[in-house]
């Protein structure tokens, strides 16, 4: 068999095993911890009878393993159960919200990835001179603030003081694409700033690493312009680590989204999750946790696959 095919299959199989293990972990985390779900819902003053009724209703008197497989089996068929707090079908509630969250993440990715790579190139071109230092300084400042505070700072400046964008990102299906884009402008700007620093620094480091090679010296000696040299000769060879770090940051976006959605009251998955953690609605938390973890693992898997595939030695074996 072609070695690259073996590698890819192995990596995908590993990803699936990991996902299964994570589902066990999420289930165990909510079911086996000392906290009692029924008690948590009904409060400290609940009578023993009410507690017993609640446990029976939730199926908590069955053994954990039976419940795990029932839960996993249903989840694989798209049935995520009903929310304890309002009795609604979880899959239906998540559908629209997942779309909104992915829209926000996609807009952010579309802005931040090209920007990070361009800034990385620029920083290498003017290495150790003022553009490099300015870019590093600004990006470092933006990561020493938690996302939600960065969100409020930008909201204060751009939405309240300057009035450029709405301070609350309301979004619904009746809005046109441009209206939606205007609504998510501020949240995606915040998320861009959050992931930009890491991506840009890794791009810079990856390209600088390649710049040491002998073929770069050759290209330099044959008189190529510096930016052409970086873009044509250094960049393609630095692609694997760059793609990798881009993917990892997109995976990080999945988490950043949770907090930012709460800040801008954006109707997405993150806000849904946080609301239901506060209500101690375990089925919703399990479902959202599983989806977030699956997206995170999926993007990590994709990053690994791309770096395997982008290696010419693996693509064309001798």
């Amino acid at each position: 068999m072609v070695p690259i095919l073996t590698l890819v299959t192995q990596r995908i199989a590993l990803g699936l095993v990991l996902l299964l293990a994570v589902s066990v972990l999420i289930f165990a985390g909510t079911e086996l911890l000392p906290g009692d779900v029924a008690q948590a819902i009904l409060g400290q003053g609940a009578t023993p009878e009410a507690l017993a009724n609640m446990r029976t209703r939730m199926g908590l008197d069955e053994p954990a393993i039976t419940r795990y497989f029932a839960w996993l089996g249903a989840a694989l068929q798209g049935d995520l159960g009903v929310a304890l707090s309002n009795g609604r079908d979880i899959a239906a509630s998540i559908g629209q919200r997942l779309g909104n969250t992915l829209f926000l993440a996609a807009v952010t990715a579309a802005i931040s990835v090209p920007l990070a790579i361009f800034l990385g190139l620029l920083a290498v071109r003017y290495r150790d001179r003022w553009p490099d230092k300015l870019i590093s300084g600004l990006t470092l400042t933006s990561i020493s603030l938690p996302e939600f505070l960065l969100g409020y700072v930008l909201m204060y400046v751009f939405a309240v003081k300057l009035g450029w964008f709405p301070s609350v990102s309301n979004i619904n299906s009746g809005m046109s694409f441009w209206q939606k884009l205007n609504a998510v402008a501020l949240p995606s700007l915040v998320l861009t700033l959050v992931v930009l620093a890491h991506m840009m620094r890794m791009t810079r480091a990856a390209i600088l690493n390649v710049m040491q090679s002998a073929y770069i010296e050759t290209a330099e000696l044959k008189g190529l312009r510096r930016l052409t040299l970086i873009a044509r000769h250094a960049m393609p060879n630095a692609l694997a680590p760059i793609v990798n770090v881009v993917m990892l940051n997109l995976a990080y976006l999945v988490v950043g989204v949770v907090v930012i959605e709460v800040v801008f009251v954006y109707p997405g998955m993150g806000q849904y999750l946080v609301d239901h953690v506060a209500k101690r609605d375990v089925p919703v938390v399990q479902a959202c946790g599983l989806i977030f973890a699956a997206i995170y693992i999926g993007l990590n898997l994709l990053a690994d696959l791309i770096s395997i595939l982008s290696n010419p030695r693996l693509r064309h074996p001798k």
Partner: protein, 272 residues
């Protein structure tokens, strides 16, 4: 304190001030923690240096007590994550074999779920109290410390002096605590600063989401949560914690940078 660069000295002083403020909060705060002393969202004045918050409490007092809670929880969580992470990391490196495999794969598994998501899942069933918060944050963060300390310890474990200790007949716990720990301390101390900042950001985020330190106790994240409505009316009370968090994290980073360059220069590497 000779030979400490100016930036690190500045970092040390500012970090010290923050910790001092946290320790002495009841004595230096101008008002009581949940005492209502003025109107809602009064601007900064001689009486209230930072103005008042959403129900008329003195914002400076809230910031001082909030810093106390935030710094306390973050410090305890960091301490827990270091003790546990470093111990397990060294154990994995020293024992090797299936112990190493078990710990490292288990660690990979926990790390494959984003930290915030894990924390939210656990906090949905556990009561949100200070000990629970500290343990949850400490355990989740110990995965990062485990990775670093295992990597460092694997390198040290093959050194001649460890070999010599083994031939002398020392037990595994001697090797872990007397041979590996002293030599792994410098990179771990540098990491400590970064982990502490991460813990500050993490507890602030949880409190902001309403799942961290519970009211009426103050916390930097909770101050943002309480005053967020003011932003829309142009009242910047909710942004005050931003200044505190940025200052503290820059100060700690300066100290951590210095610790890191000291480490590399000790080993005869780059840096003076």
């Amino acid at each position: 304190m000779k030979g400490v660069p100016l930036s690190a000295l500045f970092g040390l002083i500012v970090t010290g001030l923050f910790f001092g403020m946290a320790a002495l909060a009841p004595w230096i705060a101008p008002y009581g923690m949940s005492e209502i002393v003025g109107d809602v969202w009064e601007p900064a004045s001689g009486q209230f240096w930072l103005g008042t918050d959403n129900i008329g409490r003195d914002l400076l007092t809230r910031m001082i007590y909030g810093g106390r809670n935030t710094i306390f929880v973050a410090s305890m969580a960091t301490a827990l994550s270091f003790c546990l992470g470093a111990f397990l990391g060294f154990t994995a490196a020293v024992y090797g074999g299936w112990v190493d495999q078990l710990l490292a794969r288990g660690n990979d598994l926990v790390m494959s779920i984003p930290t915030l998501i894990s924390a939210l899942v656990v906090l949905s069933v556990m009561p949100v109290t200070l000990p629970v918060l500290i343990v949850v944050m400490g355990l989740l963060d110990s995965t990062r410390v485990f990775r670093l300390s295992r990597a460092v310890a694997v390198d040290i474990n093959v050194m001649d002096f460890v070999e010599a200790a083994r031939l002398r007949g020392e037990g595994q716990s001697w090797v872990i605590f007397r041979e590996i720990l002293p030599n792994a301390l410098s990179p771990l101390v540098a990491e400590l600063g970064l982990r502490f900042i991460f813990a500050i950001l993490f507890i602030s985020t949880l409190s902001f989401l309403g799942l961290g330190i519970q009211p009426p106790a103050a916390d930097w994240g909770a101050i943002v949560k309480e005053n967020r409505e003011g932003i829309v009316y142009g009242i910047p009370a909710a942004l005050v914690p931003a200044v505190a968090i940025v200052t503290l994290s820059i100060a700690v980073n300066l100290v951590a940078d210095w610790a890191l360059t000291r480490t590399t220069s000790l080993k005869g590497g780059r840096g003076a």
